[in-house]
C-alpha cells in the first residue's frame, strides 16, 4: 500500500529541482524503509518467495524513479505492482491448481493425510472404561499419565508401560500427588498440550493391549491403532487384516488389490483435468445450448443496459431540465443495493402465483416468469437490466461531457436533425469512448454467476438432459456444477481451475479481437 504514495514523488522527476524533488526523495525513502523492513521480516520468517518478490519490486521502484529513461513506468509502476501481486499471481496460482487434483479427498498435503488417517483409525478398545487421569512429569522432564484403574493408581510414560503407584494420593477421584513425579497443574498442561495429546502410554509390555491417551487431560481411554504408518517404507498397514497400502500416483494409499484409503493428498496430474473437462458425454448436449445462451446473455445484457443507460444519460443531459439532480440520484439506487439482495428480491417479485408483478401490476395474471424457458431468459435479462443500467448511465453521463461541442455546431449548421445528429455523431463518439468498458462488461456478464445463481439457479431445467443444468445456466454456472462446487458432486478445484482457464482463454481471445476492432473504429472515425 505504501507504493500508492509515491505517485506524488513524480512531481519533480529528473532535473526538476525544488519542492517536488524533495517530496519525491522523502516518499522513495519511505518506500525503501518499508521495503527493507519487509525484506528483513521475510528473511526472519524464511519466506524466500516473498523476499525475492520484495527485493525485485524495491529495486524496480528505485531504478524507475531515479533513471530518466523509464518515463512511462514512473506513472504505471504503482498500479502495476498491485496488479502483479494481487491479480497476476492469483491467475498464475489458479493455473497451477489446474494441473493438480486439489479437491475433495485430495484436500491437503501428504503429511496431513497420513495424520488424518491415523487419527481416524485409532479406536477406543471396545468396552474399555473411562480412566480418571492426571498428567505428571518425571524428574528428567518426561511426561507421563497417572490413571486410576480399578480403584488403583498406575503411572507410566511413553517408554514405560503403566505400573502400580500405591503411594499416590487421591482426592475427589483425581490423583493429586505421586511420589517421584511432579503433578502438572492446568497451566503447565496447557503449556505442553501438544505433547499431552500425542502421548501414548502403553497399558502393558504387549502392544496388543493398547495404550492410554487423553484428549482433555482429565480422562483417559485405552486406544488401539487400526492403521499403522511405516515411515521408512512409506506404507500404511491395517493392523487387523495385515493389508499393506502403498502411495499411488493419484495421491492415495492403495492396496495390492486396488482398494484405497479414504483421505488422499494433492499431487500434480498433468493435463488430466483438461481431458476430464471435455470427456464427459452427459454434458455434450447441454453444453452447446449453454454456450449459445451464455453469449446471448452477455451480449444482450451489454446492449440493453448500454442502450437504456445512454438514452437516460442523454435525456437528463439537458441543462434546462429541472430536478435533474433528483432524477439522477434516484436512478443510481439500484446500483447502490448489494447485488445478491436485488436478485433475491426479484425472484420473490416474479413468483408466478404470489409475486407482486403478477398479482398487483398485472392484476392476478399467472405468468410463469421464472419457470418457462423463454420467459426465464427474459426475466434474467430484465433483472440484469435493472441492475446494470445505472452503471452505463453514469459512464455515459461522464462521457457525454467530453464530446466536442463544435461538431454539434457544425451539424446544426448543416441542418442535421436530432435523430441524424445522434446517429452519426453522438452514438459513434460515445461508442468509441466506452468501447473498452462495453467489452469488459461483456466479460463480466459472461461470468455473472451471482445473478444466475440467486435468481433462477439456472432453472428451469432441461427436460432431456441427465445433468442438473437448465435453460438459464451459463458457462460459469455449468463449471460450478461439473466441478462440484455447488455441492452436487465431490468438489474438484483442479477441474474447476482448468475450466476457468479455458473460459478465460475463450473470453480473452474474443475480447482481444473485439478490442482490435474498436481500435480500428477509433482510427477511422
Amino acid at each position: 500500500m505504501s507504493r500508492a504514495r509515491y505517485k506524488g514523488a513524480d512531481a519533480g522527476s529528473g532535473t526538476f529541482s525544488g519542492a517536488g524533488f524533495a517530496v519525491k526523495l522523502v516518499l522513495i525513502a519511505l518506500v525503501d524503509a518499508l521495503g527493507v523492513f519487509g525484506v528483513l521480516a521475510a528473511w526472519r520468517a524464511g519466506s524466500w518467495g516473498i523476499l525475492a518478490a520484495m527485493v525485485a519490486l524495491l529495486v524496480a521502484a528505485n531504478w524507475v524513479y531515479f533513471t530518466k529513461r523509464a518515463l512511462p513506468l514512473k506513472y504505471i509502476l504503482p498500479g502495476l505492482a498491485f496488479l502483479l501481486v494481487y491479480q497476476v499471481y492469483v491467475i498464475g496460482y489458479t493455473g497451477y491448481v489446474a494441473f493438480t487434483n486439489y479437491g475433495d479427498g485430495h484436500n491437503s498435503t501428504k503429511e496431513q493425510a497420513i495424520d488424518a488417517l491415523l487419527v481416524q483409525n485409532e479406536r477406543r478398545v471396545e468396552g474399555s472404561p473411562a480412566l480418571p487421569l492426571t498428567v505428571v512429569e518425571s524428574g528428567d522432564g518426561d511426561l507421563g499419565f497417572a490413571v486410576t484403574r480399578d480403584g488403583a493408581v498406575e503411572v507410566g510414560t511413553a517408554d514405560e508401560p503403566l505400573d502400580a503407584a500405591p503411594d499416590a494420593t487421591v482426592s475427589e477421584g483425581a490423583v493429586t500427588a505421586v511420589p517421584g513425579w511432579t503433578v502438572l497443574d492446568r497451566q503447565a498442561v496447557l503449556q505442553r498440550q501438544q505433547e499431552v495429546t500425542t502421548l501414548r502410554v502403553p497399558v502393558s509390555d504387549d502392544a496388543a493391549d493398547g495404550s492410554v491417551r487423553t484428549q482433555d487431560a482429565r480422562t483417559g481411554y485405552v486406544f488401539q491403532p487400526v492403521l499403522e504408518y511405516d515411515e521408512a517404507a512409506d506404507t500404511m498397514t491395517d493392523a487387523s487384516t495385515g493389508v499393506v497400502y502403498t502411495p499411488n500416483d493419484e495421491g492415495q494409499f492403495e492396496s495390492a488389490d486396488g482398494e484405497t484409503l479414504p483421505v488422499g493428498w494433492r499431487v500434480t496430474v498433468g493435463f488430466e483435468n483438461f481431458a476430464t473437462a471435455f470427456g464427459d458425454d452427459r454434458y455434450a448436449g447441454p453444453f452447446v445450448k449453454i454456450l449459445l445462451w451464455t453469449f446471448a446473455f452477455a451480449v444482450l445484457s451489454v446492449v440493453t443496459t448500454f442502450a437504456l443507460g445512454m438514452f437516460l444519460a442523454m435525456v437528463f443531459n439537458d441543462p434546462r431540465l429541472r430536478g435533474r439532480k433528483v432524477y439522477r440520484t434516484l436512478m443510481i439506487l439500484p446500483y447502490a443495493m448489494p447485488g445478491f439482495l436485488a436478485a433475491l428480491l426479484w425472484s420473490g417479485m416474479l413468483n408466478k402465483s404470489f409475486g407482486v408483478i403478477n398479482q398487483v401490476l398485472l392484476g392476478g395474471a399467472a405468468i410463469p416468469w421464472l419457470t418457462d424457458p423463454w420467459l426465464a431468459k427474459l426475466s434474467v435479462l430484465g433483472v440484469n437490466l435493472w441492475l446494470g443500467f445505472p452503471y452505463m448511465f453514469l459512464i455515459c453521463t461522464g462521457a457525454l461531457q467530453s464530446l466536442p461541442g463544435d461538431v454539434y455546431e457544425a451539424a446544426r449548421i448543416d441542418g442535421a436533425g436530432k435523430w441524424r445528429t445522434w446517429r452519426s455523431i453522438t452514438m459513434p463518439l460515445l461508442l468509441v469512448a466506452t468501447a473498452p468498458l462495453l467489452i469488459s462488461s461483456f466479460a463480466f456478464n459472461f461470468n455473472n454467476f451471482t445473478l444466475i445463481k440467486m435468481l433462477t439457479g439456472g432453472g428451469p431445467r432441461f427436460d432431456d438432459a441427465s445433468v442438473p443444468l437448465g435453460h438459464t445456466d451459463i458457462l460459469i454456472s455449468m463449471v460450478y456444477n461439473v466441478s462440484g462446487l455447488d455441492g452436487s458432486a465431490p468438489r474438484d478445484y483442479g477441474l474447476a481451475s482448468a475450466l476457468s482457464i479455458v473460459i478465460f482463454v475463450v473470453v480473452g481471445v474474443i475480447s482481444a479481437i473485439a478490442f482490435r476492432q474498436t481500435r480500428k473504429l477509433e482510427e477511422l472515425s
Binding site: S13, G20, P72, T94, Y327, L333, F354, P404, S511
Partner: protein, 306 residues
C-alpha cells in the same frame, strides 16, 4: 491520438444544446423539449425505485418476511432501525467507509497515472500493455479466493498487516484491480484533452509531472469523479473476497455483515437486514450527490483555466 479527438479544439460545453438561459417558453415547445424528459424521468425512477420500496417496507415492519407479502407498509415501526444499534452495524459502516474511500482514492490516483502514461507517452509494449490490462480483468474470479487466501497467509507471516483479517490487506487486494477497466475509462477521456495544451506548457518549461498534476488532472475532473464513485460502489457491494479476508466480525464490511443476516434463509433476519440495506445505500447516494457537480459541471469550469 485519434482524429476524432483532435478535432476538438477545447473541452465541450454542457451537452448538445449548449448553455441556454432559462426563460419562459410556450407550452407546446416545453412539452416537446423538456416535458417528455420529465415523463421519461418519472418512468425511469419508478422502474429503478419500485423494488426498493419493498425493502423499505420490510425495514419498517416489525415482523415478517422480505417478499412474502404484497401488503406494503401494513405495519410501520422503527424497531428495526433502533435494533441496529445493538449490532455491529455501525462498526461495519465505519469499516466500509474507510475501505471504500481508501480504495477509491488509490484507484483514482494509480489509474489516472497509468492512463496518463498510456495516453501521452509512446513506448514499446504500449498496445500490448493496454490489451493485457483489459484481458487480465476478465479472469473468472470464482476461484480467486483460494489463491488470495494462500497469498495473504504467506504475506501475513512476513508482515501481519498485509495478512488475513486486516483491512489494509483487503484494500491492497482491491487496489490490485486499480489498473483495469477504470484505466480505460480515463484513458479515453485523457485522449480528448488536446495535446497542444501539454506541448504549450512544456515550451513554457513545465516538466511532465507538472503537466500531469497541474493541467491534465484539472481538466479530467469529471472522469476522476466517475471512477472514484464506481470504485467506491463496487467496493461497497463486494462481499466474496471481503468475507474471506476479513475474518473477525469487528472488521467486516457492510456487505459481509448484511449477507450474514440472510445467508441462512430460514433464519433470515429480514427486518434488520432491510433496515441495514436502506441505511447502507445512503453513503452511496451522498457521495453521488457530492460528486455530481464535478461529474456534470466540472469540465466546463476547467476549460476556463485551460
Amino acid at each position: 491520438m485519434t482524429t476524432a479527438t483532435e478535432r476538438a479544439t477545447g473541452p465541450a460545453t454542457d451537452g448538445p444544446g449548449g448553455q441556454v438561459l432559462r426563460h419562459r417558453m410556450p407550452a407546446g415547445r416545453w412539452a416537446r423539449e423538456l416535458g417528455w424528459r420529465h415523463v421519461v424521468g418519472v418512468l425511469a425512477v419508478l422502474y429503478a425505485v419500485f423494488p426498493i420500496v419493498y425493502v423499505v417496507s420490510a425495514s419498517l415492519s416489525p415482523t415478517g418476511t422480505l417478499t412474502g407479502s404484497n401488503d406494503l407498509f401494513a405495519q410501520v415501526s422503527g424497531v428495526n432501525y433502533a435494533e441496529l444499534g445493538d449490532t455491529k452495524f455501525w462498526t461495519w459502516m465505519g469499516n466500509t467507509l474507510v475501505i471504500g474511500v481508501a480504495t477509491a482514492v488509490g484507484t483514482v490516483l494509480m489509474g489516472a497515472a497509468a492512463a496518463y502514461a498510456f495516453s501521452r507517452f509512446r513506448f514499446a509494449g504500449r498496445r500490448l500493455g493496454l490489451t493485457s490490462l483489459l484481458i487480465i480483468q476478465m479472469f473468472p474470479q470464482m476461484l480467486a479466493f483460494v489463491a488470495i487466501f494462500l497469498l495473504l497467509i504467506s504475506l501475513g507471516e512476513v508482515v501481519p498487516v498485509l495478512g488475513l483479517n486486516s483491512k489494509i490487506a483487503l484494500i491492497c487486494v482491491y487496489l490490485g484491480g486499480a489498473l483495469g477497466v477504470n484505466t480505460f475509462l480515463m484513458y479515453g477521456f485523457f485522449n480528448t484533452v488536446p495535446r497542444e495544451l501539454d506541448e504549450a506548457a512544456k515550451i513554457d518549461g513545465a516538466t511532465h509531472a507538472q503537466v500531469y498534476w497541474t493541467i491534465i488532472l484539472r481538466l479530467v475532473t469529471p472522469i476522476l469523479a466517475v471512477v472514484g464513485l464506481l470504485s467506491f460502489i463496487s467496493t461497497f457491494g463486494e462481499f466474496i473476497i471481503a468475507r474471506v479476508v476479513l475474518q473477525s466480525e469487528s472488521n467486516w464490511t457492510l456487505a459481509v455483515g448484511l449477507y450474514g443476516w440472510v445467508s441462512s434463509l430460514l433464519e433470515a433476519n429480514w427486518g434488520l437486514f432491510a433496515a441495514g440495506a436502506v441505511l447502507s445505500a445512503i453513503p452511496v447516494l451522498a457521495l453521488f450527490l457530492f460528486l455530481q457537480k464535478y461529474i456534470v459541471g466540472g469540465l466546463t469550469a476547467g476549460s476556463v483555466k485551460g
